[in-house]
Amino acid sequence: MNHFEAFREREIVQRLTAEIRRISKRPVAFMEVCGGHTHAIRKFGIPSLLPEHITLLSGPGCPVCVSATSYVDQAVAYSRLPDVIIATFGDMIRIPGSTSSLDREKAAGHDIRIVWSALDAVKIARENPGKRVILLAIGFETTAPVTAGALQYAFNNKVENFFIYSAHKIMPPTMETLIDEGVPLDGYLAPGHVSTITGTSIYENIASKYGKACVIAGFEPVDILESILMLVRQVEEKKPSVEIQYRRVVRPEGNIPALRMMNEVYGLRDDWWRGLGILPASGLAPREKYARHDAERMIPVEVEETIEPKGCICGEVLKGVKKPVDCPLFGSVCTPATPAGACMVSPEGACQAWYKYEAKV
C-alpha cells in the first residue's frame, strides 16, 4: 500500500547500521548539501543510530537559507509597487529581510500569493491582465528547469505581464568552495534530486581533484544509511569516487531535456550565497532573449540598504563549520515561530531541523 515502507524497514536499517559499525574505523565527517536530506536525517533520528565518530554536517542546500537578505528586500520592494502580484513558494514568505518580510507585507495588504508550481504563477498572470505578476524563482538545478518551462511558456504564449525574479543557484561551485575554504569533511552525501537533472559529471572534481568521497543519495532512511555506508567504504578503502545510491531515480547522464531547457532560458552569473559570499558563475539569470520577462531588467525598484541580523551565524552553519546550537540566538531569540535567520525558517534549514528534532536524545 505505502511504497515508502520498503525504504523504512527496521530490519534493513539494522543490517546497514551494523555494517557501518563493522567497517568504519576512523573518525569521519560527511556533509549533506541538500535540505531534504537534513530534514530526513533529523526526522528519522538517524544520528542516534550511527557510531559517535561519524559526524553529519548540514551544508548550504536549502534554497531559502542561502538566498541573500537583499533578495528578500528587493522582493519586499516589488510587493509594494502598484499593480504587482508576487507569486512565491511557501517558505520564502517568512524569511526576514532587513526591516520587513513578505508575510508582513501580505498582512499590510499587498498582493502576495503562495503557489505550488511555477505554472500557477503564469495562470495568475493570465487571470490578471492589468497586473504585473512576479514569480520569486528560487532553488537549485531541481527547480530551475521548472521555472524555465514556465518562462518559456509565457514567452511563447505572449503572457507579457509574467516576470521572474531569479535567485536560482547551481550546486557544484559551492561544493568545491567549501573544500577550498578548509571545511573539515571527508565526503559529500550528494543531493539526489539535483543529480536527477544534472547527472554525475558535476561531481567529478570532488573525487578526482579533491580526493573526497561522493555518493548521490535518496531521501528515505534506507537510502541515507546505505549512502553513508558507501561513503565510509570509499574513505576506509581510500578510493574516492562518484557513486550513485539513488539508482531508481538518478541516471549518470541526468535529464537531458530538462538541462537543455534550463540552458536555453538561463545563463550563468556570479551570485551571492549566505555564508560564502559571491561565488563566480554560481547563479542563473534569464538570457537576453527572455529579457522582457526578467523582473530585474524590466521593473526598476528602489531597495533599502541591507541590514544583516546581529549575532546570527547562519553563514557558518551553512558552511558546516558551526552547529546550530553554537549560535547565541538559537532557541532563545531565534525559534521557528520567531526566526532571526533564514536557516530557522525552512523545515529544510539546519537550524529548524535541529530545533525540531534535536541531534541525539
Binding site: 500500500m1 505505502n2 536499517v13 539494522q14 533529523r42 526526522k43 528519522f44 533520528g45 525540531k356 536524545v361
Partner: protein, 338 residues
C-alpha cells in the same frame, strides 16, 4: 422571502432580518428556549461546576469531505466542553455573513448544525446574525459558545494535575484525517473521497468512559497543532516525559502518502473528532475497549507512556528505530482548517 443571496438588509435588524431568523434559523434550530425569542436565553442548569467555552470557525472551503463549517462549529465547541469532563447542554450560534452568500449554502450549513446538535444532544438556545459588505469576510464565519456542567470529581482532568509516570496515553482513532480532507478540498485533489474529515461530537463516547468510573487523569482534543503540540504542552505542564513509539501511531496509509507528497507531518495535522486521554496503566485496556464500543472510537489504541525520563520532553522512537525529540508546531502547517 426565498431571495437567492444574502443582502446587507438581512443584517439590518429590520423586517428582512426577522424573516431570515424565522424562516431559516428558527425553522432548523427550533427548541423551546430559542423560539421564546427573548433577548437572552434563560437556562436552568443542573448542580455542578459550570463549564463555558467559545470558538470561532473560519474554515475554507465551507464544505469539505466529511463535513462543513456548521458541523465543525457544533463539534468543536461540544468537544471542548466534553474533554474538560463536562456534559454539554446548550450552545449559542453567531453568524457573520458576507453579502452575496447564496442562501442555499447558508441553509445547508444551518441544517447541518441542527443535525449535529441533535446528535450531540445539545440545544442551540441563542444566536445573532450580522451581514458585512462583499470582501469584508470570506462567505461565512461562525462563532459558537457552549455551556455545560462538570461533576466536581472531574475538575482535575483539564489541569493534568494527577498525571503520573507509567500512565498510558490513548487516542480514539486515526490522526490527521481532518487536516488532509480540508487540504484535498482546497487544492481540488481528486482523492475520490478516500479521506473524509473526522469531525464528530465526542460527548457521548467520553461520557461512557466517565460513567464506567475510569479514573481519567487528563483529556484534550488534538485540534490545531495536532497530537504533537498537545503532547508537548502536556509534558511541559506536568514536567514529566512522554515516550511515543512512531509505530504505535494510528495514521491511515492514504493520509501518510499525501503527507509525504506535500511535506506535512500527520503529528501536526488537525483533528476534529479525536480525544487524547491519559489513564493509569491498569485501566488502559479497559478504556480502549470502552472507546471501541462507540462509532467514533472504533480504532482507539494506546499510543504512548508518561515517564520519569527526559522531563518536559516528548521523545519518539522513529519507525526505523532512531530516537528524536518531538516539538510543538511553529507557525502554520495549513491555515484556516477550522
Amino acid at each position: 422571502m426565498r431571495k437567492e443571496t444574502i443582502l446587507l438588509g438581512h443584517g439590518s435588524g429590520g423586517r428582512m432580518s426577522q424573516e431570515l431568523i424565522r424562516d431559516l434559523f428558527m425553522k432548523h434550530f427550533g427548541g423551546e428556549v430559542l423560539t421564546a425569542e427573548t433577548d437572552a436565553a434563560l437556562l436552568e442548569l443542573p448542580p455542578g461546576i459550570t463549564v463555558f467555552t467559545t470558538d470561532s470557525y473560519v474554515v475554507s472551503p465551507l464544505f469539505f469531505p466529511g463535513g462543513d463549517i456548521g458541523h465543525l462549529a457544533v463539534c468543536g465547541t461540544v468537544n471542548d466542553l466534553a474533554v474538560s469532563g463536562g456534559s454539554p447542554l446548550a450552545l449559542s450560534a453567531s453568524f457573520i455573513l458576507e453579502e452575496g452568500l447564496a442562501l442555499e449554502e447558508l441553509e445547508r450549513v444551518v441544517s447541518s448544525m441542527a443535525a449535529t446538535a441533535r446528535e450531540a444532544g445539545v440545544a442551540i438556545v441563542t444566536g445573532d446574525t450580522k451581514v458585512v459588505e462583499h470582501g469584508s469576510c470570506d462567505k461565512l464565519f461562525i462563532n459558537t459558545a457552549g455551556i455545560g456542567v462538570l461533576d466536581p470529581q472531574y475538575r482535575g482532568i483539564s489541569h493534568a494535575r494527577d498525571v503520573q509516570p507509567g500512565d498510558r496515553i490513548i487516542v480514539n482513532g486515526f490522526l490527521g484525517d481532518h487536516g488532509v480532507a480540508v487540504l484535498a478540498a482546497r487544492q481540488h485533489l481528486d482523492i475520490s473521497g478516500a479521506i473524509v474529515s473526522d469531525a464528530a461530537p465526542l460527548n457521548k463516547m467520553i461520557g461512557r468512559v466517565l460513567e464506567e468510573k475510569v479514573p481519567v487523569r487528563f483529556m484534550r482534543d488534538p485540534t490545531r497543532g495536532g497530537l504533537a503540540t498537545l503532547l508537548c504542552d502536556l509534558a511541559e505542564r506536568t514536567s514529566l516525559g512522554i515516550e511515543l513509539p512512531e509505530s504505535s501511531l494510528p495514521v491511515r496509509p492514504e493520509v501518510k502518502n499525501i503527507c509525504e507528497v506535500f511535506g506535512f507531518d500527520p503529528l501536526y495535522l488537525a483533528n476534529e473528532g479525536k480525544v487524547v486521554m491519559v489513564v493509569p496503566a491498569e485501566d488502559a485496556d479497559r478504556t480502549v475497549a470502552l472507546l471501541r464500543q462507540d462509532p467514533h472510537g472504533r480504532e482507539a489504541c494506546i499510543i504512548g507512556t508518561i515517564t520519569h525520563d527526559h522531563p518536559g520532553k516528548v521523545v519518539m522512537e522513529t519507525e526505523i528505530g532512531g530516537r528524536r525529540i518531538v516539538d510543538m508546531l511553529a507557525g502554520e502547517q495549513l491555515p484556516r482548517i477550522c
